[in-house]
């Protein structure tokens, strides 16, 4: 039969019409619209991402009246680029995750829509439910632009079997807290002697979090109070870098490991400790390895831990639909109230009623490091700073050489300072 014989045409047209109908009902637009839609974009590709999918399944089951779609995009620059472009074009999803440290650099006035506080209150969420410093960072020019979901500090993971053999565990089976550089080094040496390879796994290709934690514990400044000048304390910055160089030179940490290698070295027991953000809990639980977690040691003077917070934001839409916004705010509220499940993925909930709940407190090892939440040290406040932003990239380029031995701490610091100064001299594009 020839392909376009006449009696086939009506059928083709019917198929076409059916397809259009189907497409319309799938996107939920036009007159076929029946329920509010909530499209969510997130950047959780690690162990926490698996957890998010489970939580979303429960949300969908409890909310059949909401058209919900979640999309996980690649972490870091790819995510923020796509979010920025969709928001700049006014066709963004209803809700997205954003690192709190990126909020100001993301140009709230043009790329985000303020969160209607009355709707949030109506959904049962109040300002008093959060730590004040976290909440205050979400407010820009008097308007609320973000709702914090969690805090995620740099922590210490430890392999309980290896640390038991190294004699580092107390009678309660938890790692004995250490304080000071010498105690810290002694602990690492004991672990290295046990594993025969490394003491700790750390991401040497981007050691920003490690350096920022150590520098923060030395109470180093970064910018002048008005944020216009770089005021790094060279002596303190060098002290932190020199400790990092020593760890690698003594073979306590690898000279070279990227993120996947960091995870692998802890999983396969090459390292008995791991310095990382707390979000890989699910990965290690899935690997069925004996491990627990604790706050990162206070190596220097004060407890400070590099970290950030995930927040929910409403990326800018040219034509925001009221029903969708209401459903979106209710979704945010639901996620906060159910953030014990999210905490199972490692993050410390921001919503204080959950932090005090038995459900969260009984999570092991996730509740073991919750005490550090008030000491989470955010990245310096600038348009080029925050998770996955240029400042971390420059730190990675300059500081990775300290671990690999290709750069002296002095040279690395000089390079980092020059790069930061260049960024500071560049007019803010947001």
């Amino acid at each position: 039969m020839p392909p376009d014989s006449p009696h086939l045409r009506p059928r083709r047209r019917a198929v076409l019409a059916g397809g259009l109908l189907g497409a319309l009902s799938l996107t939920g637009c036009g007159t076929f619209r029946s329920k509010p839609k909530v499209r969510e974009w997130n950047l959780f590709g690690g162990g926490d991402g698996a957890r998010l999918l489970q939580i979303h399944q429960q949300y969908v089951a409890e909310h059949p009246d909401v058209g919900f779609e979640a999309h996980t995009l690649a972490w870091g620059p790819p995510f923020y680029t796509k979010l920025a472009m969709s928001a700049a074009g006014g066709r963004a999803p209803e809700v997205a995750t954003l690192h709190l440290s990126r909020l100001k650099g993301f140009s709230p006035a043009t790329m985000l829509d303020p969160i209607p506080v009355d709707l949030l209150n109506a959904a049962g969420i109040r300002e008093s439910d959060f730590l004040p410093e976290t909440w205050n960072r979400c407010v820009v020019d008097g308007k609320l632009y973000a709702v914090p979901l969690d805090q995620h500090p740099f922590v210490l993971y430890y392999n309980t079997e290896i640390c038991q053999k190294a004699g580092l565990l107390g009678a309660d089976g938890k790692i004995k807290p250490v304080k000071g550089v010498d105690a810290f080094l002694d602990m690492l040496k004991a672990v290295k002697d046990t594993t025969g390879k490394f003491a700790a796994s750390v991401e040497t290709t981007n050691p920003w979090r490690m350096w920022w934690t150590l520098y923060g514990q030395l109470e180093g400044k970064f910018f002048s109070d008005d944020g216009t000048r770089l005021e790094l304390d060279d002596a303190k910055a060098l002290e932190a870098l020199e400790l990092m160089a020593k760890l690698a030179a003594d073979g306590l940490v690898p000279r070279s490991a990227n993120y996947p290698a960091l995870v692998a070295q802890f999983t396969n027991g090459d390292a008995g400790l791991s310095f990382n953000g707390e979000w890989e809990v699910t990965t290690y639980q899935t690997a069925k390895m004996p491990f627990s977690m604790a706050p990162f040691p206070v190596v220097y003077d004060v407890p400070k831990f590099a970290g950030d917070a995930h927040t929910f934001v409403l990326p800018h839409q040219s034509n925001r639909n009221q029903d969708d916004t209401k459903a979106t705010v209710e979704y945010i509220a639901w996620m906060l109230k159910n953030s014990a499940a999210w905490a199972a993925g490692g993050h410390i909930p921001s919503y204080q009623p959950v932090v005090g709940s038995q459900e969260y407190l009984s999570l092991k090892p996730q509740a073991e490091y919750r005490s550090v939440a008030p000491d989470v040290l955010f990245d310096p406040d600038a348009w080029f700073s925050g998770s996955g932003a240029q400042l971390q990239e420059e730190a990675g380029a300059a500081f990775s050489g300290v671990f690999s031995g290709q750069a002296t701490p002095k040279a690395a610091l000089a390079q980092f300072k020059a790069a930061t100064q260049t960024l500071l001299d560049t007019p803010s594009p947001v």
């Binding site: 920025a84 700049a88 074009g89 043009t110 990227n258 380029a397 990775s400 750069a407 390079q415």
Partner: protein, 313 residues
């Protein structure tokens, strides 16, 4: 559907008549335009317009955040010429091109010569030489990142088993580029191989028979017959390869992220960083234009070079 009928029935004649005759009705002369219209539209929307808007943007402080910045004149261009990162990433791009192009041509040729045979062995070689090319950049990068890993990677495992010291391939400034080149050659050589194989199979067997009768040995056949007859294919492969290598981005972004310490960052990644990580579309446009001009110059040089060599045939 009404549109399709005339082409089907007259099967190809419209194009021929439109080209040869001049005294036709207006409608028929412009029929060709109608057929290419969709492509012309795509070309205009996705190539012409961005090309000009990129030039336009390079004079502004345009931001990805939707703010149309103020007019800067040549300030972006001045900043670019004084920006050492532009020159170092350009240098990296050229180093990658210089390191990757020769092996991608020579190895492809050797592979084609080896695989140009019948039977199971020929099939097996053809399959295994081409197989990596079908993998996406992400998969290739992931495989090679693990292969290069110190401590438990395959390459370092072999090195230590052989009594050599481990090499930190991806995190040593003077080795990272070589590591990327090796992975790239493994991945993409299959395409050039295929072009060479097709050209080899197009050489008539009679020429070799005649040469054999004249007493030519294998070496003479290779250098006097095969290679000269492949010269046009070689020209094509070199042109395609240079352009592909200059546009290097994916595997470097995935394997080293331009590191360590920007030792492998190509110009495309620096453009990406400025435009998309730092939202500086205006500045990124200026650098893109510089790169665009360089590629045009390289293309013209190639054209001059290879249009001369065609006479060999």
């Amino acid at each position: 559907m009404a549109v399709q009928t005339p082409t089907r029935t007259t099967s190809g004649t419209p194009t021929r008549s439109a080209r040869s005759e001049t005294g036709q009705p207006w409608k028929e002369r412009w029929a060709g335009l109608f057929f290419v219209a969709p492509f012309l539209l795509l070309f205009a929307v996705f190539l012409l317009w961005p090309t000009f808007s990129g030039l336009w943007n390079s004079f502004f402080n345009t931001s990805l955040s939707g703010i149309k910045g103020e007019f800067l004149g040549l300030q972006n261009w001045r900043e670019m010429f004084g920006d050492p990162a532009v020159w170092s990433s350009l240098k990296n791009t050229f180093v990658f091109t210089a390191m990757s192009t020769p092996p991608l041509v020579v190895i492809a040729l050797v592979m084609a010569l080896l695989a140009n045979r019948r039977g199971l062995l020929g099939w097996l070689l053809r399959f295994s030489y081409f197989a990596p090319f079908v993998l996406p950049a992400t998969v290739v990068s992931l495989i090679w990142v693990w292969i290069y890993q110190p401590g438990f990677g395959l390459v370092n495992g072999l090195l230590t088993a052989g009594g050599f010291a481990e090499i930190d391939w991806l995190n040593t400034e003077n080795r990272a580029m070589l590591a990327v080149v090796i992975a790239t050659v493994w991945w993409t050589v299959g395409f050039n191989f295929l072009l060479y194989l097709a050209a080899l199979q197009g050489i008539p067997a009679q020429i070799y028979e005649a040469a054999a009768i004249d007493g030519a040995n294998g070496r003479q056949k290779l250098f006097r017959i095969t290679l000269p007859l492949l010269s046009r294919t070689t020209g094509l492969i070199v042109v395609l390869q240079l352009v592909a290598s200059l546009m290097i981005f994916d595997q470097i972004y995935l394997m080293t992220d331009g590191g360590p310490n920007y030792a492998t960052r190509p110009i495309v990644q620096y453009i990406y960083q400025n435009g998309f990580t730092n939202y500086r579309i205006g500045y990124a446009s200026a650098i893109s234009y510089l790169f665009f001009v360089i590629i045009v110059i390289v293309s013209i040089l190639q054209f001059k070079l290879f249009s001369g060599r065609k006479e060999v045939r």
